[in-house]
Symmetry: C2
Subunit: 359 residues, 2 copies
């Protein structure tokens, strides 16, 4: 037990599966990760009023608001537990070519965007995710000029990138146009990111887009994808990371959404391990986001061969960028202290990934 | 909106109440905080199989494990949302003189202790809470000798304090003996803290215990209480903090559990404000704890008049203490990097509390 503390933390009862980690090495993967990997959102996570991925809940009649609509949403990446948000009103519900898209007004988190039954963002805590995933990479390099966003159709990451006046081009490749349309209608505080004249929108598959991109074009690429279930599965595999690395300049940086340290240590290990084969340096950072599984989200930060990047000590601090703190809307979460703190890892995670990380 | 960002984050829709903040100033308190303050756990949070604080949930028959028992637990400090844990087996259920005590085996978080319907700890993530609440104060002073724990009947904080070989006396004052008995039976990894010969157990009311304590006795006091609803309400009021300050040595430190930055900014402001009237310096730190509301828990750290305490840079780093990393069981969460990182505050919280904090 003592010698296997991190593993125990992730999945205490179940080590019942085997899967490849992409390195040709067979290793055990806990059932929670297997379940998430194998999840078929269409079957399991209908965007209907009571059922998401097999969980059901409704308010007890004793104290439920009479006549009030109350629905709850859970997450298949999070077996054995559920985070439920009380729904005041469903605002939008449709099926795109790629996923089910739902928007509702929650009781205490503002409007919520749900894709295939998984909460993507809420108005209350989107600041933590959007600000961290954008400024961790962009404040780690001086004068970023060309930036690519993979996914990010809600526009929130664009809004954050646009705080950086050095940036000249912001390409975004989002596969699902419905996400963009829905964000423009229901999440104007995020979709405002699309209004920046530097933004060039590409609707399509990111891997294909990157293959057509000139080599070494980007200073930074931000992968703001959904969980690696359904359409985003290919985005955590080695060929995709190679494509990303090819599109980056020497010393260019990648920031990739990378799951919960509490629940998905094995997915994190796999992702870091794959990145180590492709990039010069790989780091892991995390942030508090209440409506994501276990209340945290992680980021893998990588840089290519070239000028060294010191991710942990922002060379391009946001506090010194002209107008960056208040552009479009005030920063709510990120600051340089939070940047540095994001790289402090709990002892259990450090034990698991320390040997994989390198600067 | 721009000028009131932090407030908006806490409770977007409701600013419908007024209450005193203990300074004689009337100020608005959002309904979530009022609801939590006014909550009567006995009425609202029965430890029964399906209902906790008016929320109800059960697995959908399509995918629920046949014949499996599944129960869920929520938290009245967290209106409009619920964090549900799947219950494999209820292990203990009884009513003490003070609260309802429940222990169950969860599907993915190990055994769980619930008091008055509120999750107190789970085997999976207790490390984050216990290690941070103990080592943030004890690593901030050199050679702590006399330490008092208020609450903490599960023993986890005792286990962490006992890593410090400089400590000579560990007093603990817990009001509810049933919590201790239950922990000894079901949570041996926490209750092991009681085995330390330096521990002196006092069953009773902490305020009374402190009034009888010699003035200036303790190097550190750790208040590991439950949420300020029910029996722990008095523990967030000014007279109690004055009693704590009196019991501390010059330059002694207090670490007090202090809610979620995402949900309870007003309670945090009140607590900091009260502490500022009593202590020389007041700081706020936070940690990720998945099973607490919004996935975080905060700590108010105070020091009395006397030798200055630099909370943010541990003077007594745990990595340099002989045997501390592995005493009883390995550290899982805390390390000196996490210590320093814990004091980095999101911009929204910094805006609210910066003027109140002082070193």
């Amino acid at each position: 037990m003592e010698g296997d503390v991190g593993k125990g933390l992730v999945c205490q009862n179940t080590m019942d599966g085997k899967a490849s980690n992409g390195n040709g090495l067979e290793k055990t993967v806990p059932s929670c990760c297997l379940k998430a990997m194998a999840c078929v959102p269409e079957d399991d996570a209908k965007c209907h009023s009571t059922v998401v991925s097999g969980w059901f809940s409704e308010p007890h009649p004793r104290s439920g608001k009479k006549g009030g609509k109350a629905v709850y949403f859970n997450n298949p990446m999070w077996p054995g537990e559920a985070h439920s948000l009380k729904v005041e009103k469903v605002l939008f519900k449709d099926k795109s070519d790629f996923q089910e898209v739902l928007v509702f007004e929650s009781a205490t988190y503002g409007k919520v965007l749900v894709l295939d039954g998984i909460v993507q963002l809420t108005e209350k805590d989107e600041c933590a995710y959007q600000e961290m995933i954008a400024h961790l990479p962009l404040c780690s390099i001086s004068s970023p000029k060309n930036v690519l966003v993979v996914g990010g159709g809600d526009g929130g990451v664009l809004r954050e990138i646009s705080r950086h006046s050095s940036v000249e081009v912001i390409d975004i490749c989002e596969i699902d146009k419905m996400v963009i349309d829905v964000s423009k209608k229901f999440f104007p505080e995020l979709a405002v990111g699309f209004d920046d004249p530097r933004v060039q929108l590409h609707i399509g598959d990111a891997a294909e887009f990157l293959r057509k991109s000139p080599e070494g074009k980007y200073d930074a690429i931000i992968v703001d994808s959904s969980d690696p279930v359904g359409p985003a599965l290919a985005l955590v595999e080695k060929p995709f990371f190679e494509t990303l690395a090819r599109a980056l300049k020497p010393g260019g940086v990648l920031c990739n959404m990378a799951e919960s340290m509490w629940l998905h240590t094995h997915l994190i290990e796999d992702m870091i391990s794959i990145c180590r084969q492709t990039f010069k340096s790989v780091h892991y950072a995390w942030s508090s986001v209440p409506t994501y599984p276990s209340g945290v989200i992680g980021f893998v930060l990588c840089s290519t061969e070239g000028p060294a990047v010191d991710f942990k000590n922002p060379i391009n601090p946001i506090e010194k960028l002209d107008g960056a703190m208040t552009h479009k809307r005030e920063l709510k979460f990120y600051n340089s202290d939070m940047h540095r703190a994001a790289f402090a890892l709990p002892t259990f995670l450090r034990r698991e990934v320390a040997s994989l990380l390198a600067s």
